[in-house]
């Protein structure tokens, strides 16, 4: 029918009143939120600047001159972090998915592989990242494999990050694969698709959608952990800040590096929120609840 379109002019008196009431409710909520946020900010600020050591803290952590001098150098270092982030994220996705798939193989022939993967995941989820960094960063060069040449610290750091994060991400993927309802698998197999076909065409597409939010969470976590490669001597944002701190005898460069990492994380966090809400809208019909 063509005259299905909603015409707001036809609203009854009662409905207009209801809408007006809801609108005023909404405006009141916004106002309350605004006032409470402002009040909270003011209290927090006042208690900070009135603390007895604030002057000294301000000098050694929030010095404007040091801030402006350190910013370009720390930014330079951040570019290295971004490169490491890019390669380790790709590596983690591929390796993590591979581990997850190996772990879901059912056939008894694959028992040793399944056990191996399980051992790997247990090991690297248990090991602190910093120890993995030391082991890879100083252990691999220590093997003196001449044909590899001198491996740069950032490459070793990337390897360590991939090793650790793949173990986490593999578990996220596995949870996603197992969360796909068995009936989906049955339906796929009933059509004659093989195990790997049903995995690739039916299960994984649904699993990936389910795990997108937790994956984004791991990505945010990875984003700051790339700063740890500085312990291997790579001049990244954290290392650059450290050098400036030593130079100025002032902690402001750490604030600079911290701010840059936060700025880096915000778009990812927002993107993750957006994904989650879109997913919820698409797959669930929930009405007003």
């Amino acid at each position: 029918m063509s005259n299905d379109k909603a015409l707001p002019v036809e609203l009854s008196e009662i409905e207009r009143n209801r809408r007006a009431f809801r609108k005023s409710r909404k405006q009141r909520s916004t106002l309350v939120a605004l006032v409470s946020t402002l009040g909270f900010a003011v209290i927090a600020w006042l208690s900070l600047v009135n603390s007895p050591g604030w002057d000294r803290v301000q000098q050694s952590f929030f010095d404007w001159n040091t801030f402006t001098t350190a910013l370009p150098l720390v930014l330079d270092g951040l570019l290295l972090n971004l490169r490491v982030l890019f390669f380790s994220a790709i590596g983690v996705l591929i390796f993590g998915l591979l581990l997850a798939l190996l772990r879901t193989l059912r056939s008894p022939i694959f028992t040793p592989i399944r056990l191996l993967v399980r051992g790997y995941v247990d090991l690297f989820r248990g090991l602190p990242l910093i120890i993995v960094l030391y082991l890879v960063g100083f252990g691999i060069p220590g093997l003196r494999l001449e044909f590899l040449g001198r491996i740069p610290a950032e490459v070793l750091g990337t390897i360590a990050l991939i090793l650790t994060y793949s173990a986490y991400v593999a578990e996220v993927f596995r949870a996603g694969i197992e969360a796909v309802h068995p009936s989906q698998r049955l339906a796929a197999r009933s059509l004659g698709l093989t195990y790997s076909q049903s995995m690739r065409l039916v299960v994984l597409p649904q699993a990936l959608r389910k795990v997108a939010p937790p994956l984004m969470n791991d990505f945010v976590s990875l984003q700051k952990d790339v700063g740890l490669i500085s312990v291997l001597g790579a001049v990244d944002a954290v290392r650059a800040a450290q050098i400036q701190v030593a130079h100025f005898a002032n902690f402001t460069p750490y604030i600079v590096a911290g701010l840059l990492f936060v700025l880096l994380a915000i778009p990812t966090v927002r993107l993750a929120d957006y994904f989650t809400t879109r997913l919820a809208k698409r797959e669930q019909a929930g009405g007003v609840l």
């Binding site: 029918m1 909603a6 036809e10 009854s12 409905e15 209801r18 009431f21 809801r22 009405g287 007003v288």
Partner: protein
């Protein structure tokens, strides 16, 4: 309507519902009296389910009013949770909680909404399961039960709270034909016990035998309504006649 009507439980006045630009309900007027069964019939997409969801305040309506026992429940000032406690809703796909046994499915709201202590809630739920012959399955999980058993449990989950009005949304549509009977039998029981019911259904025979009033919905408007016998024996509107013929022919095929 027949003569001796009890008090009016539900009164829907000129209800309209729009989704974005699409108008799903275009001014529905409907009354349910105490102890009555009112059957909503109509093809898929005619707005039956939307109407039920609006009445249970699961959808915000676009215009009109809904009264439950003379209280305007479409007023935004009412506490919607308190209203929903007085209206039961049973879904086509049962929607039992998969992580709870069927006994726990029933006791959940008894404990957390009505505030009964664990023992009393259990005893009450057990009594209800006994009534539908599922006492021996009390500790089973929904997945282990047949569709008919699940749907009867779902109805008891709603009935346990002693709602003033029970809404049934095509509760037999997902069931095997051989399981439909046991669910309809339960609804007949509830009516005998005095429960007021508004049900969307495709079970024409059941509607004719058990419902007091039948409403035919098409394209978001009420095309025709009347007392069940009259409605089925002597439909007036050509669209009603067409719908009934179509559905009966399909039933004949099966």
């Amino acid at each position: 309507m027949s003569l001796d009507l009890g008090p009016m439980i539900l009164n829907v006045k000129n209800l309209k519902k729009e989704f974005e630009e699409r108008s799903v309900l275009k001014g529905i007027d409907l009354e349910v009296y105490r102890g009555q069964i009112v059957a909503l019939i109509g093809s898929s997409g005619s707005g039956k389910s939307t109407l039920l969801r609006c009445i249970n305040l699961l959808e915000e309506i676009s215009d009109g009013q809904i009264f439950l026992n003379d209280e305007d429940i479409s007023d935004p000032r009412v506490n919607q949770d308190l209203i929903r406690r007085q209206i039961g809703l049973v879904f086509q796909a049962y929607n039992l909680f998969a992580h709870l046994s069927i006994l726990e499915n029933i006791t959940l709201a008894l404990k957390h909404v009505q505030g009964l202590d664990s023992e009393t809630a259990k005893a009450k739920a057990f009594g209800l399961l006994e009534r539908i012959g599922l006492a021996d399955k009390a500790d089973s999980y929904p997945d282990k039960l047949s569709g008919g058993q699940q749907q009867r449990t779902a109805i008891m989950r709603a009935v346990a709270l002693e709602p003033k009005l029970l809404l049934l949304d095509e509760v037999t549509s997902a069931l095997d034909p051989e399981l439909v009977g046991e669910v309809l039998e339960l609804i007949r029981d509830l009516k005998a016990g005095g429960t007021s019911i508004l049900m969307a259904t495709h079970e024409l025979t059941f509607a004719r035998d058990v419902a007091d009033w039948v409403v035919f919905l098409d394209g978001g408007v009420i095309i025709e309504e009347g007392p069940a016998k009259e409605f089925f024996n002597n439909p007036q509107n050509p669209r009603t006649i067409e719908f009934l013929t179509r559905l009966r022919r399909r039933a004949g095929d099966a």
